[in-house]
């Protein structure tokens, strides 16, 4: 880039990234702070890992994390299946009845305020329970259904846009060589768009793992997720354990994102070279 006349842009980038990262860094730093006052650095006893131990012994948080993990994994897997089907349909079938509706239904959840989605899902579950007795009460199942409904929209977008740049001649060549459409999908299409599907899975996992609002509406007694527990704690004020939780989350996410994007940029290079 021509940075000659763009000190303005550089400054903006600098401030922008500082704005994005200072809060994150402050959580990391204060997770090692000994003081219970969180933001007052206790130089005498810090850095310390004591809040890490205390977090790892916090039954409530661990239980909630376990529930969150279960919901997130089921959600991600289900969303990937539904989202891939929808994305494939939208990208490959130029005309079918209900295409417009499907397109709208997969775009709307991306921007729908969560309070609306959450409320409406809960009311549906209550009505269904009255009507057919299912789902009996609310908990992991209802939460997972709720999460899948908006996660699959994200997967759909990812898969759809990946397929938009997919050379259909590859599929035709496979068919020409004798593979039936279903086989073509599994042997040719799926392996090639796998990176997109993987990022869809990870995104769906993260969306679910982080979700507070829809979980709050659709969960039942005894099925509090991690964000719900964190929310109730944070409402009462800051807590050093949350800093620890944040630090762990950030570390895991960073490693994952960096790893995946390195791997994908290699895949993309292969991809580009092959076309």
């Amino acid at each position: 880039m021509n940075y000659k006349s763009s000190y303005f842009i550089l400054t903006c980038l600098g401030f922008g990234f500082a704005f994005l990262y200072i809060p994150i860094l402050s959580m990391v730093v204060f997770s090692f702070n000994a003081s219970k006052l969180v933001t007052v650095w206790d130089a005498a006893h810090s850095p310390t890992l004591k809040w890490y131990y205390s977090l790892l012994n916090n039954e409530e948080i661990l239980d909630a994390a376990w529930i969150s993990l279960k919901v997130a994994v089921i959600n991600a897997s289900g969303s990937v299946i539904l989202g891939t089907l929808a994305g494939f349909g939208l990208a490959r079938f130029s005309q079918f009845r209900g295409r417009f509706t499907l397109n709208a239904m997969t775009t709307a959840p991306l921007v729908m305020p969560e309070v609306i989605t959450g409320l409406s899902l809960l009311l549906l579950f209550v009505a269904l329970e009255q009507l057919i007795g299912w789902p009996a009460g609310r908990g992991i199942t209802t939460m997972t259904i709720g999460h899948m409904t908006f996660s699959m929209a994200y997967v759909t977008v990812i898969v759809n846009s990946r397929l938009a740049t997919f050379d259909t001649a590859l599929e035709e060549a496979a068919m020409d060589l004798g593979a039936r459409p279903l086989k073509v999908f599994f042997v040719i299409t799926l392996p090639i768009i796998f990176p997109a599907i993987l990022s869809g899975w990870l995104l769906a996992f993260t969306l679910s793992w982080d979700d507070l609002v829809i979980s709050s509406f659709t969960s039942g007694p005894g099925s509090s997720t991690l964000p719900m527990v964190v929310f109730s704690k944070v409402r009462l004020g800051v807590s050093p354990e949350i800093n620890v939780l944040a630090t762990i989350t950030i570390t895991v996410v960073t490693l994952m994102i960096v790893g995946v994007s390195l791997w994908m940029s290699r895949m993309a290079k292969l991809d580009k070279a092959a076309v």
């Binding site: 959580m27 539904l82 921007v111 507070l212």
Partner: protein, 304 residues
């Protein structure tokens, strides 16, 4: 296209099978719920479980009566609280969107014009917070903005101020929280748009006598319009209904409609009122969602 053409002939059933599952899923869990919300927004509050009266009631032996109760809506329009909350939410979302544009545009532009290697790193840095829990990132601002928080401590230590500033639980904190959380949502679509830009256009414009800022104003800005619109919608629409950020940073009297809905539902157990709020909010937002969808359609049509 041609695979599709071929499939049209032989795979009618297979084609149906592909889309029928996600289609039904979204119909049942995304569309039908709104019908139920609509229905409940017309029922009376009841001290029961669930806390509303059925809409259809058997009157006498075999006549079914539909009772539409507009009281919930009337109530929303008579109590200033709700109207204020609506107006305030729109105001907050709008200002936040403008702030995101002001901060995010130069960033997206800078990233798009960086060298490829730098570009990927910067992009990664924008995406990273997006993958970390929103709740935790909002929480971080509590630690920064508190009376004895990091910012006040630093300012006092530097001697800029004597007494801590009140920042947490103010509109200021809420704006910071919203802009902070939604900034990546604005930058990413705009970046995706700017990345496809042919920068030689700017050189051509300058060659034809435009000053750099004129070239930006006349070429870059109009060409990036769709990316900017898409990003703005991704900020504005969810921000109108935002709950977490006002609840954590905004203080007790930060009137946001998402929060009102939450309180009606969880604290007051007034499900019909909450439903009416949801319906009104939806009516308010649907035009923006349709706009967003058409912008997206245009953007992807242009991409091919």
């Amino acid at each position: 296209m041609n695979t599709a053409g071929y499939m049209r002939r032989f795979g009618v059933t297979g084609r149906g099978l592909v889309v029928v599952l996600p289609y039904l899923w979204l119909l049942l869990f995304f569309v039908v719920p709104f019908v139920i919300v609509l229905k409940i927004s017309f029922s009376d509050i009841d001290l029961a479980i669930p806390p509303y009266k059925p809409l259809l009631e058997w009157v006498g032996k075999n006549s079914l009566a539909i009772k539409l109760d507009f009281n919930n809506y009337a109530f929303l329009f008579t109590d200033r609280l709700y109207i204020n909350a609506f107006l305030n939410s729109i105001k907050v979302a709008f200002i936040s969107t403008v702030l995101c544009i002001l901060i995010g545009y130069p960033m997206a532009y800078g990233i798009a014009r960086a060298k490829p290697a730098t570009r990927n790193l910067l992009l990664l840095l924008v995406i990273l917070p997006f993958w970390t829990s929103l709740l935790l990132r909002v929480y971080a601002w509590i630690g920064l903005l508190k009376a004895n928080g990091v910012i006040n401590n630093v300012l006092i230590w530097l001697g800029v101020i004597q007494d801590p500033l009140t920042m947490l639980y103010t509109p200021f904190a809420m704006y910071i929280g919203i802009v902070y959380s939604y900034l990546p949502f604005f930058i990413l679509p705009l970046y995706a748009n700017l990345e496809k830009m042919d920068w030689q256009l700017l050189e051509a414009a300058e060659d034809l006598g435009c000053k750099p800022w004129q070239a930006f104003y006349k070429i870059t800005l109009p060409l990036s319009r769709n990316g900017m619109l898409a990003g703005s919608m991704l900020v504005f629409i969810p921000a109108v209904g935002e709950f977490v950020i006002p609840a954590l940073l905004g203080g007790p009297n930060a009137l946001m409609i998402g929060r009102v809905l939450w309180d009606e539902f969880f604290s007051n157990r007034a499900w019909p009122v909450a439903s009416a709020v949801a319906i009104l909010l939806l009516i308010l937002l649907v035009p923006f969602m349709m706009w967003y969808q058409s912008v997206q359609a245009r953007e992807s049509a242009g991409a091919r």
